[in-house]
Amino acid sequence: MTRTPYCSGSEGREAWPQSRVGDGMRILVIEDDAKTADYILKGLGEAGHRADHAVDGREGLHRATGGEYDALIVDRMLPGLDGLSIVRAIRAADMTVPVLILSALAHVDERVTGLRAGGDDYLTKPFAFSELLARLEALLRRPHAIAQQTVLTVGDLSMDLLARRVVRAGQPIELRPQEYKLLEYLLRHAGDVVTRTMLFEGVWDFHFDPQTNVVDVHVSRLRQKIDKGFDKPLIHTHRGGGYSIRAD
């Protein structure tokens, strides 16, 4: 149920950015369907990553345990050895490499199964590449997560997590609880593109497809509060249905 529609019409939206997660991240794609694999490999290449391809479970596990990858994209249903077994094997070997599971099994319970097996994120087929990239880069960022920080800052905006106070350019901003959570999520992924689906999951903890623009409405409200009246907007909309918060 995690899927972001492509948006038709691109006026006023920024193109999908080049990767912000360093150059030349090495990613292993374990996927037996040639078309899907091709689609992912091409996209990853365009985003500036180096991607390798394994066509079945055994080869995938073999190469993954080589240990030289920054992230794995694993299809759940594979010939030879299924995706979940690969993930379990990798985790059993104490490898912490981030794993994104791809699956045609859409239901939230399947998702739970995938995450329990040791996956870090779960993406349902069919998916938009932008969604895959956004999630992958969020995973690649994870090791440098800012869990210990008590103040999150982007440009002249700062959020004090202890006092639950948001200030921009010295002016306090009043936020409702959900707006606060939304902003916190954006700030924790500052500089990254987060998709609507990621927001829906991360802020509201729902994994179904809301079918409407509920998330966008929340973002636009938040934008009203933190960007209105300031020269430089912090929240940016991206083509392909994502948002990011950044200062430049």
Binding site: R3, P5, G9, H107, Q178, F206, F208, T212, N213
Partner: protein, 456 residues
């Protein structure tokens, strides 16, 4: 008919029962016979013993002459019918009694004998079994006193007759009962079978007839009928799904196809191609949405999501959803009011319930005119949680309320608005999964959807 009757379990059990009854009867009468005949034997022995003692005493007191007299009298016509007497000299010459000669099997030694003797009565000779005792008197005389055992044989005969006469009707009645039981079971089962055959042949409206007695067959029939009811609903649903799928998927598929064909037919610039691709993508999105909605419903309906022990704070969920949709409603110029009582816990699946309620709120926003109000209410009534989503839109006519819960049903009035027609059927499926009652009511004006869920 007959072989099928013989094979019914009712008949077989009944026959087994009858056989058991027969064996019990034979054993009982056999025991009575055995114990009675040994009693008779004991009495016979005692009588003979006493008579021998008496005769011996008489002989000792009054001599052989008197004994001959007594025996002659007892074995004579006045002595009663069934006594057998024999008195012989030490050389086995008969002195008195109704034995024509000293029987060889009787021999000389003291002791009990069972002799088979011929008896001549009114010119006809019959063989009789005589039980008696040989006694050697002082002086070497041989005395035999016995009784004809015809009485015992008669008793045996009576007993055997009794067994036969008790057994035959019992067996006959039992067999008749078995046939009746077997036939009854067969008839009831045949009714189920006939109905099933008709259903297999395609007539899904058939139901198993009830006898009205409320017996086990009736209860079985009721269960089967309920099962059939559900099958029929599912089959009808399936048919509707197929029809509607054909309709709902064909339109976007056709649009996508014609778009691509048009773009391929003539040379165009990149922008035009791009537009075609984006349009096609949009159509595919619609198709995928429809598919996903269907899959969600199927999951909820098959109960694949075991509710297990997942305790759910329904108040929290409803509050979250009201907050989630409130800005959207406001943006659209509608008011969303949440009246959520705190701390209502149920057993439930957060995602499915969330999706169902999201569907309801989404619908409510869609159908409420600008300036209208949407209410999301959660309260407690006894041991049920009552969840309601009400709008102030056009509502649904009472006649259509049942129908809109089915898949793909979209009332003509809503044809113009986007949607797959699957929203309410997902709600219905989620309600069923949670054992909740779903009701559509008039909100005067508008629609009020009420879900009653059992509290945890």
């Amino acid at each position: 008919m007959l072989t099928r009757l013989l094979r019914t379990s009712g008949f077989q059990v009944a026959v087994l029962y009858v056989l058991l009854l027969g064996v019990t009867l034979v054993a009982l009468l056999g025991f009575i016979y055995w114990s009675t005949s040994s009693l008779i034997d004991a009495q016979l022995n005692e009588t003979i013993e006493a008579e021998i003692r008496g005769l011996d005493e008489q002989y000792r007191a009054e001599g052989i002459g008197r004994l001959v007299e007594v025996i002659a009298e007892r074995s004579g016509p006045r002595g009663g019918g069934d006594g057998v007497y024999g008195l012989a000299t030490p050389g086995f010459a008969m002195l008195a009694g109704n034995l024509t000669a000293w029987p060889r099997e009787a021999s000389a030694a003291d002791g009990w004998r069972e002799l088979s003797l011929a008896r001549n009565l009114n010119g006809a000779t019959t063989r009789h079994v005589v039980r008696g005792r040989v006694f050697v008197l002082k002086g070497g005389y041989h005395l035999f006193v016995g009784r004809d055992t015809a009485e015992r044989s008669l008793f045996k005969e009576i007993m055997i007759n009794a067994i036969v006469w008790a057994l035959l009707p019992a067996l006959a009645l039992g067999l008749l009962g078995s046939v009746l039981i077997g036939r009854y079971a067969l008839r009831r089962v045949d009714a189920v079978r006939a109905t099933s055959e008709e259903i297999l042949a395609g007539d899904l409206t058939r139901r198993v007839p009830l006898a009205g007695s409320g017996d086990e067959f009736d209860r079985l029939a009721e269960t089967i009928n309920r099962m059939l009811e559900q099958s029929e609903t599912l089959m009808t649903g399936m048919r509707t799904v197929t029809d509607s799928l054909a309709h709902d998927l064909r339109s976007p598929l056709t649009r996508a196809k014609t778009g691509i064909e048009l773009a391929l037919r003539r040379e165009s610039d990149i922008a035009t191609y791009r537009q075609t691709l984006e349009q096609t993508n949009g159509e595919l999105e619609t198709i995928l949405r429809t598919f996903e909605a269907l899959i969600s419903i199927a999951h909820a309906e098959t109960g694949m999501n075991r509710l297990a022990d997942s305790s759910l704070d329904l108040s929290q969920l409803l509050g979250d959803l009201a907050d989630l949709y409130q800005p959207m409603a406001e943006e659209a110029g509608r008011v969303l009011v949440g009246e959520v009582a705190p701390g209502i816990m149920i057993r439930g699946h957060r995602e499915l319930l969330g999706q169902a309620v999201a569907n309801l709120i989404d619908n409510a926003i869609k159908f409420t005119p600008e300036g209208g109000e949407i209410r999301v209410v959660l309260g407690r009534e006894g041991d049920t949680a009552v969840l309601a989503v009400a709008d102030s839109g056009p509502g649904i006519p009472a006649a259509d309320r049942e129908r809109v819960l089915q898949r793909f049903v979209r009332l003509d009035a809503s044809r113009g608005t986007p949607g797959s027609g699957l929203g309410l059927s997902l709600v219905a499926a989620v309600a069923r999964l949670h054992g909740a009652a779903l009701a559509l009511a008039d909100n005067e004006p508008g629609l009020r959807v009420i879900l009653r869920l059992p509290l945890a």
